[in-house]
Amino acid sequence: MLGLHELSAEEITHILDTAKGFEQISTRSVKKAPPLRGKVVVNLFFEDSTRTRNSFALAASRLSADVIEFTEKVSSVSKGETLLDTAKNLEAMGIDIVVIRHSAGGVPRLLSRNINACVVNAGDGFCEHPTQGLLDVYTIRKIKGTLEGLKIAIVGDIAHSRVARSDMWAMSKLGAEVIFVGPPTLIPGQVDKLPVKVSYCLDEVIEKVDVINMLRIQFERLGGNPFPSVREYSHYFGLTVERMKKAKPDILVMHPGPINRGLEMESEVADGSNSVILEQVKNGLAVRMAVLFLVNQAAAQGE
């Protein structure tokens, strides 16, 4: 599972349908099922993470797999060991699935060409974050029934967002109209080649959309000064209680997390009745179980 760009609508729907069957495992008393029993899943994370990492670890454990946590900061990468050496050394110990997050786009593909274990992309640079895209559309589908015909706004630092890209692929393939909203400095240059509309004004868009996904301003990735000040960004692009008054009453408010409260959205909105942010996290678990299950199945069939 490297990205959503190369998947068809049927394949994405299959993953979502499979995820439905896994939801219960997290709510019942015995939170385990056996499909990945005896398999080893490695969380190979070269960037910080709360949700994704723990979600994958829990998903793997719920399927009875063993989990190894690799954190770059405390590994031999500090001694100069390369990515491929790290992966191959771990593989020599016998692993089945590698879940990788890296700051350079394309790393999951590179890894998949060089090791035998399955590779699942947990976020590569600005490129894709497929399980986030999947859990976002799963959340929308669960509440709205279908994405066909929905208008969805993705707001914020689109240029540096892998979440925006994965969302765009998943949502457009499932029939939704996607609108990127942000200051011109944070919208990618060749956006006209992508299946999206663009707007530089949140106020124009807010009344028309069924779903709004607020992206985090990623101070660690910005480099340079794409906007004059954080306050000005919030003024034009923040989701405030005032702006919410103009939105449809049943609009879904989403955010991949972590939230910069007061920046991308006001606390009242984040904790408000339209917010499905915690639902997203809950659904992330079922979606990741489905992805691990399907990836393992594909490997078993391929043998």
Partner: protein, 175 residues
């Protein structure tokens, strides 16, 4: 293709199974029926309806998806990828006599998976297995408590149960 049971015979077998389940279960115990997806589910619904009528009390019915408990996930026997579906059991299974229902009992592997799945959901008072067709060829030490029709069919052949709700008519054929 050879038809071994027609719709009249199937109806008679289900009536017979209903009667045997009732006489085989102490009246003070709570019964519930759980069908193994996907045809077991349909048979379970029919059985629970008949049981409810005859006992004059509600016998709840649930559906079990055993895909996650299969023993062939890591060594697939064919080219089909099994589709994970939902398990829908809207009642507590603790302390109830659960009648597990499937269309055909053959190797016993589905029944084994179903029992493991059920045990992860609670602690039934007892699990009893009821099947429409009991086919010779067990690979595990598992037997049906209530078997409808017993048959011995050559290994390469398939015993296919068709039901109105899923296939348009009630009949059991050998292919």
């Amino acid at each position: 293709m050879k038809v071994i049971l027609d719709s009249r015979q199937i109806k008679r077998i289900l009536e017979d199974l209903t009667g045997r389940i009732i006489s085989g279960t102490s009246p003070e115990l709570d019964i519930a029926v759980v069908g193994i997806r996907s045809r077991g589910e349909i048979l379970a619904q029919r059985l629970s309806a008949r049981l409810s009528e005859k006992l004059g009390k509600d016998v709840p019915c649930g559906t079990l998806d055993i895909t996650l408990y299969r023993d062939d996930l890591n060594s697939p026997q064919g080219n089909d990828q099994p589709q994970v579906r939902t398990t829908e059991i809207g009642f507590d299974i603790d302390d109830k006599v659960i009648i597990l229902v499937d269309d055909v009992l053959y190797t016993g592997r589905s029944a084994r998976a179903a029992m493991d799945a059920l045990i992860d959901l609670g602690r039934p008072k007892a699990i009893k297995l009821a099947v429409l067709v009991d086919r010779v060829g067990r690979e595990l030490p598992i037997q049906a408590d209530y078997a409808g029709y017993k048959t011995d069919v050559a290994p390469g052949k398939l015993v296919q149960v068709n039901l109105i709700e899923s296939d348009g008519k009630d009949e059991v054929v050998i292919e």
